[in-house]
Symmetry: C2
Subunit: 101 residues, 2 copies
């Protein structure tokens, strides 16, 4: 058994990959939120409703199919999208509060 | 005002980008979970503890710094990492239950 302070090489390598994936996830999320912020402004300008149940249903179905293809739990993919959408709604509420100040 | 069934071109383009980002996120998450599954097996084989508070503290600090750099809310980045870690723990519990069957 390895001493608690000693990190085996394979574990070190895996952690390095996890850190790289996390950096990629953060940067992609930053770009995704740029898009959803613009969507929020565009919808407000055009008088379109903030949410679109048909669009959300399509997104969930598509992500679940992609998850199955890439061996990711489709239920997790749905939870993940809902987690992101909750943040998008939080941004829209904040933006709307700023406009009304 | 646009008719409800008509999607303005810019909104269509933004949705296309969001869908591309979501596909990238799903594929990166699938690779990340491959790594954490291997980490779980490796730790069990080596008799190392399943969780490592120092490592988690470092990961959160690093992701928050990356979030600030890329104009993403650092609190969201922390929530996001916790969301992913909860799924990793769920995988470890499932794997452990399968080994003990």
């Amino acid at each position: 058994m390895a001493a608690p302070t000693e990190i085996p090489e394979r574990l070190h390598d895996l952690r390095e990959s996890i850190d790289n994936f996390d950096a990629a996830l953060v940067h992609i999320l930053a770009e995704r939120f740029k898009c959803t912020k613009e969507v929020g402004i565009l919808k407000a300008d055009l008088g379109l409703p903030a949410t679109d149940p048909n669009r959300e249903r399509d997104q969930i179905a598509r992500l679940k199919a992609l998850a199955v293809e890439s061996n990711l739990d489709p239920e997790f993919a749905e939870k993940f999208l809902n987690f992101i959408i909750a943040e998008v709604i939080h941004h829209h509420v904040e933006a709307s509060a700023q406009r009304n100040r």
